[in-house]
């Protein structure tokens, strides 16, 4: 009894519920980690400034609707762009340096197709009505984009379209094998259901334009470049000489022109390539004649490659000199050219090679060497005239559009192919977005405020702009710093092959206008999006939380919304280094 008691007495077990938390080890810190989201290189390369890192993250999580809405905040036409945009985003993808770029455009198309199939309605932020109306001339991508973004900013707009259906060159230029009509009509229908009004079959004449200036608060011109540029050589116009744009338009109107035999297609741009590929689909043979070399062709390389696969022939360094009709055939005379030194713009300089001419016998010649505006009033006055301000008039030459306001009159803004140096769909969309921002700023704060307001909305270094930033959305918190490959912690990624885009067989391609690229499954899309590093944005991977030796990464109730408990953080920097995607930054501690 005694012993037991004394044993008990002697067995002293210290008990304590005092933790170390009274030691504020934060005072040790001389470097300070912080959460700081940054900009992905792909998103600045995207002319529409899409938030690609976030879009891919949402796809990986299976949040397809949210991913699609994230695109729509910056680009109203993902179904179109997922198909025909030449995807400069992929050219700047950080993953290229690891294995291969993310198939961003394939993901974009997947989201658009999924939303269309499920008839999803987007839930997007929209500012209260401003009580102002904008007339938009032309329903190409520029006009549609302007209307979409003006609508978001609370403006009423009305699109006037000369053709019987909306879409501009998306409807009447780019062939169906790359962009089926239903894809476009789906997108247009969604825009209309969101409040965009389109008056088709209403061509605006010069006098109507003057009327619009008085009955609307602003006018946007997105009339495009629809006049074929002539070769200005003997035999043109003439028998057997046709213009490429009209030919494509006829096809999209349902005609099936006779192209038996061999057709020469003159030019090196997208139009020439699409004319050649369409001829092949109609059963003819196509020879593309270009005065420079393949590497100089303005057409997108993937399109040139496809045209050659389908059997188009490319003859480089040949300049047309004359066309002569002989019976039902044409003799196209061309001059051999060669490269000598460099041009002012850095391209190979093309000069004539000797005096010998070559005659090519064909059934017809398509001219596709570029286009210009149809009417002089479609185009803004040349930039040389004035700076931003001139005699109380405003002339703003912005990266994607030109804004004009004569003596406090109605602001006129020109966009799309009319003003873009790079004439393509996504740049046209970018110009519609810029126009909407510029007009809104002009109305709210005057012309002087426009440039500064726009530069605050650049994605990274620009020139692409973000409407989400303009509307003060969460993306505004992103730092413009563009995440480089060296800033990715690649230890957290495995090599994985890029998705293989399923396509029609070559025989199927050359015998119909069916869409070439086929759809991919949700699983495939999630796997591909999962390859994305999500450069610069937090995807809740929890590395920072896990590796903190001082237990000072605190998370909100849903295990997101991390923040650092600076009472204890010693500034070791592990969280920052182990963040795979540079969504954190380590900086000097500011000592008081």
């Amino acid at each position: 009894m005694e012993t037991e008691l004394s044993l008990k007495k002697n067995l002293y077990m210290a008990r304590t519920s005092v933790t170390t938390e009274s030691n504020k080890t934060g005072s040790w810190r001389f470097l300070r980690p912080k959460y700081e989201e940054k900009t992905s290189p792909c998103s600045t390369a995207c002319p529409a400034g899409e938030d690609i890192a976030r879009i891919e993250m949402l796809i990986t999580q299976g949040a397809f609707k949210e991913a699609w809405e994230t695109i729509l905040r910056e680009n109203p036409l993902p179904g179109v762009c997922g198909r025909v945009c030449y995807h400069p985003c992929e050219g700047r993808c950080n993953r290229r340096e690891f294995d291969t770029s993310i198939a961003v455009h394939t993901m974009e198309r997947f989201l658009a197709d999924t939303a269309a199939r499920n008839e999803t309605k987007p839930a997007l932020e929209r500012l209260p009505p401003k009580g102002k109306r904008v007339a938009i001339i032309g329903s190409g991508p520029a006009g549609l984009s302007a209307a979409w973004f003006l609508n978001m900013l609370g403006y009423d707009s009305e699109i006037f379209e000369a053709m019987p259906e909306a879409g501009g060159l998306l409807r009447w230029g780019i062939p169906a094998y790359r962009l089926p009509a239903t894809v476009l009509s789906n997108e247009v229908a969604r825009l209309e259901s969101q409040g965009v009004r389109i008056r088709v079959g209403e061509a605006v004449t010069a006098s109507r334009f003057e009327e619009l200036k008085t009955s609307y608060d602003a006018v946007f011109l997105g009339c495009g470049y629809w006049r074929n540029r002539a070769l200005n050589i003997p035999g043109e116009p003439g028998q057997g000489v046709e213009d490429g744009m009209s030919f494509l338009r006829q096809l999209r109107q349902g005609a099936k022109p006779d192209v038996t035999g061999v057709s020469a297609v003159i030019g090196g741009g997208n139009t020439a390539i699409d004319v050649a590929r369409s001829i092949i689909r109609l059963g003819g043979r196509a020879v593309i004649i270009y005065r420079r070399r393949r590497e100089d062709m303005p057409a997108f390389d993937e399109e040139i490659e496809s045209a050659l696969e389908e059997g188009a022939e490319l003859r480089e360094l040949l300049a047309p000199v004359q066309i002569a009709a002989i019976g039902s055939d044409c003799i196209l005379t061309v001059q051999q050219m060669k490269v000598e030194g460099l041009d002012r713009d850095g391209r190979g300089k093309i000069v004539t090679a000797g005096t010998s001419l070559v005659e090519i016998s064909v059934q017809r010649v398509f001219v596709a060497t570029g286009t210009t505006a149809v009417e002089a009033w479609h185009e803004p006055p040349p930039a040389a005239e004035a700076g931003d301000q001139h005699n109380a008039s405003v002339h703003l030459y912005l990266s994607h559009c030109t804004l004009q306001q004569e003596q406090q009159g109605t602001p006129i803004i020109y966009g799309g192919d009319l003003t873009n140096t790079d004439k393509n769909v996504t740049q046209a969309i970018a110009s519609g977005k810029q126009a909407a921002m510029a007009l809104d700023t002009l109305f709210q704060s005057g012309a002087d405020a426009v440039r500064e307001r726009l530069s605050a909305c650049l994605v990274g270094e620009g020139p692409s702009l973000s409407m989400e930033i303009y509307m003060n959305g969460p993306r505004k918190e992103r730092k413009p710093h563009i995440v480089s490959y060296q800033e990715i912690n690649t230890d957290y990624f495995q090599f994985e092959p890029r998705v293989i885009q399923p396509r029609l067989l070559i025989e199927e391609r050359t015998s119909s206008f069916d869409e070439i690229e086929l759809k991919i499954s949700a699983n495939t899309a999630m796997r591909e999006a999962g390859r994305c590093f999500n450069c610069g944005i937090c995807n809740n991977c929890d590395n920072c939380y896990l590796f903190c030796p001082d237990v000072c990464i605190l998370r909100g109730r849903d295990m997101t919304e991390r923040h650092i408990d600076y009472d204890y953080c010693k500034g070791c920097g592990l969280c920052v280094v182990e963040c795979p995607r540079n969504a954190m930054t380590l900086g000097e501690e500011e000592k008081l």
């Binding site: 304590t16 005092v18 080890t25 590796f547 030796p549 001082d550 070791c572």
Partner: protein
Amino acid sequence: MQLDALDKELMCSGHVGCPGCGATIAMRFVLKALGEKTVMVLPACCWSVIAGPFPQSSLKIPVIHTAFETGGATASGVRAALDMKGDKETTVITWAGDGGTFDIGFQALSGAVERNEDFIYACYDNEAYMNTGIQRSSSTPYGAWTTTTTGADWKKLRKKNIVEALVAHRIPYAATANIAFPEDLIRKVKKAKAIKGSKFLHIYASCPTGWRIPSEMSIKIARMAVQTNIFPLYEVENGVNYTINYKPREYLVREYFKLQGRFRHLKDTDLDQIQEMVNEDWALLLRKAGEHA
């Protein structure tokens, strides 16, 4: 990496571990895997200090501070006491440094596992006696500077292969783990907890102060130890069944060495020699696991 249901923290902020200390990261993961029903035996080591001066404690579980050489013996006693109370549920874990394991505590450890005492012995390995000022241990790797292997007298003996020494006791479970591989580490701790008898975990834990590395590199270097085959991740059941858990990318050991101040004096020829030793050890391990290179 999503390690769900491991949100409970049994380690507190405010401890006095160095910034970027790998041993604290190791502790945090191990406690997340073991849960509250755990008693920890803590022989003298850095962690004796990090656990806090009484009445403070940075650990929310019972801890027995014990003499440097007694990790195995004290745990055996604690286990026996719990068993007598009828408590089969509580896990007993010894948490010791490399000095307390490879060197001074080896006898008590060997005795305890020879008796197949039902406990986990976890050695967090920072490759020297860090608490007392970076003296070399038998775990200090070939080539390293320590305060007792200075200048031209850098350590020219190989690191003791402690896992093989424990495997030789034919214990139910022995495994290596690394703080840069939390999923693997936590899985192994949970597995050890579920097995009856003696379990040994050899946990690589970088030490920014003792290794002369920047604190923010401590995970990166730990990861490289695995990627270069210097510290392979593997487990051995019942002293015979080997499983290699990670097949490394073909990194060269010099990448690992050149990031650390403790190896700064090594010449290319030394590094070539070390590469050969690492290759040899890896080949041996592959053979034991019945695998081919």
